[in-house]
Amino acid sequence: MTETAELSFVRRYVFSTDHKVIGKQFLFTAMGFFTIGGLLAILMRTQLAWPWQEIPIIGPLLYGEASGNILPPESYPALVTMHGTIMIFFFIIPILSGALGNFLIPLMTGARDMAFPRLNLASYWLMVPAFLLVLSSFLVTTGPASAGWTSYAPLSILQDAAPGSAMGQTLWVLSLMLVGTSSLVGAINYITTIVMLRAPGLDMFRLPMTIWALFITAILVTFATPVLTGALILMFFDRSLGTLFFAAGEGQVILWQHLFWFYSHPAVYIMILPAMGVASDVISTFSRKPLFGYKPMVYSIWAIAGLGFIVWGHHMFVSGMNPLLGITFMTSTMLIAIPSAVKTFNWLGTLWRGNLQMQAPMLNALAFVSTFVIGGLSGIFSAATPVDIFLHDTYWIVGHIHYVLFGGSLFGVFAGVQYWFPKMFGRMMSNTAGIYHFVITFVTFNMIFLPMFYLGAFGMPRRIADPYQYEMFSGLQGTNQFMTYALFVLAAAQLIFAFNFFYSLFRGKVAGKNPWKANTLEWTTDSPPPLENFEEIPTVYRGPYEYSSPLVAADYLPQDQYVDGTESPRGMPAPAVSPAAGD
């Protein structure tokens, strides 16, 4: 800690090259954007429950007298667009890859920092202008981008096609380019760190699943993001220089969809794989039992990543893409469900004959598993091309994506943040508050998103400001109101989490090195870890999940603890004096 004291405040907290500080910067900014994205969701759902009605307090504040304190019709597509954009590009990806990735990779691989600390600094500071651009788009008179988070051409190309397609869309394109570059820089850093800087004895197949997931996620980012960047540049030129790439007529409208989904389907895995890794670690730790099927779990992630590059057409079954191509994409999509199923079964296998401690991180990880199952299974319906003719662009898809990204990724984030909070800040979050937050969130989450499948089966399209215009959907207002009420409760429950988080930062119980009695390397150093993480780089003797091992009396066996007579790490001599057992 003495070294840090010598650095100025700016070098220590603002332009720090320390991966832990950068991770926390990502954490706090992402939480800010989660709040903004959530507020947009509340506005959206309020409109769906009570369309074109004056909203007390918020209405006059946001929409003003000019529009009669009512949401103007052009704002609804903007709400939809910005909710999706912010939650995906400014919350989930930054908090999983940016915050957890940055904080955990060097700690869990036994490295002193990332391979390229200054590049890491750049990856955060590339995000900052992106934050500013996307926030400033709310202040533009024509409003923020409103062509959906997918920004399909030509709505996003023609400046006068929608109010948001003017300045707002330009800001959207520019900020996403920066986000993409930041992700890419981060990803190259992560891959290099994981491949090059592992502690002695830490073979790839001794890495915790979180690291495996972040590793493969980074590979997806490296190969997929540049295609999005390329497509965004073409879109930018179409909008500013009048090039004709995605223009109707000479250009190819559908090309945008191909390029966008070539990135954005892998991006769905970029958003879920790290959460899968977190869930694996948390479930194993709190089951006090080795992860069931470690290698199949790793191979499943590889399979998901590989297949992830050849399924993107399933977003385009009714887009005018050739239906013959639809058949191949449907088949590959069915196949990508296999590794997801394997992962689920292995999580269940981990619980089997475990000794399950129901603490807040564990509950959230279990919520991840149970909701990911619904998300995955609901995907099979829309992967079925004939059924997707009906379900495409309805609330079924909205339900599906939220079961994967809210039920999956967000519960994974809750699990991860509460699990590693003690390591990040040296204090414990309140378990009781965590359980309250979990129960309310889990129940209301299902109350909001389960009815979406019902709406979808009714054919209610997404991104529609007032579904009750249609006679066929006029009976659905009650359901929508029910969902909106549930959202209010869910939103309120997040205040419990926020309070728990910030209160525990200062007043939480002091954590100690290893509060969860976990095995992985980050728990062998102080909480929070010193500037270069480890006093001495640990030597690794075994895999990350040796819980309840018969070798020791305790129900955990840290990776760096030497036990006489057991396998020594590859190429490493056994230490002359074995460290004392236990902690």
Binding site: A115, F116, L184, I188, N189, I191, T192, V195, M196, L197, R198, A199, P200, T222, F223, A224, T225, P226, V227, L228, T229, G230, A231, I233, L234, F237, L241, G242, T243, L244, F245, E250, G251, Q252, L255, H258, L259, F262
Partner: protein, 186 residues
């Protein structure tokens, strides 16, 4: 512990970066190929474009790859002044390449081909433009490398920077090999 002796972290990361760059150009080339195949009014490139001039330019870029790789070989042998000579030659040839491209652009604009009046123009300027931008960035880094070599930063034992420079430069060359073929010859 370095699990892969001999592969430096910088070189590893450079290859990853180049892999991602390949995908970036793939997006642009994908647009080019698709628009060309479906365009009802693609011009006859052999008449519109100055193929002999660009063929000369292509040879220049290939030669610059040779000077670059000889620069690398020189520092492997510890020959500082030859390293500088080759790096300077590479930068100069690169500059000539970009200049000739600028001349070509000027000619085309003179003939009324712009980025916004045909898909040919859109794809042509964007593809050659982004390649040219990569060459320009390469020249900037070459200048930096030359500067650093004058400061004595490279030696027979330690010359990773020159190697990275070379990898990038040759990658840009590879991109041009494909662009030249698909834009000018096919």
């Amino acid at each position: 512990m370095n699990p892969m002796p001999g592969v430096g972290t910088m070189k590893f990361a450079m290859w990853l970066f180049l892999a991602s760059e390949a995908l970036f150009f793939a997006a642009l080339i994908s647009a080019y190929v698709l628009l060309r195949l479906t365009s009802p009014s693609w011009p006859d490139v052999s008449e519109l474009l100055n193929v002999p001039l660009v063929a000369l330019n292509t040879s220049l870029l290939l030669i610059s790859s040779v000077t670059m790789v000889y620069g690398f070989a020189s520092i492997e042998d510890g020959k500082q002044s030859r390293l500088r000579l080759y790096l300077i030659a590479t930068a100069v040839i690169g500059t000539v390449f970009v200049s000739i491209q600028a001349v070509e652009w000027a000619q085309l604009i003179g003939e009324g081909v712009t980025a916004s009046n045909s898909v040919f123009g859109s794809t042509f300027y964007v593809l050659t433009g982004f390649h040219g931008l990569h060459v320009l960035i390469g020249i900037l880094f070459l200048v930096l490398t030359i500067f650093r070599s004058y400061r004595g930063r490279y030696s027979q034992a330690e010359h990773g920077g020159v190697e990275l420079m070379g990898l990038y430069w040759h990658f840009v060359d590879i991109v041009w090999i494909f662009l030249f073929t698909i834009i000018y010859l096919i």
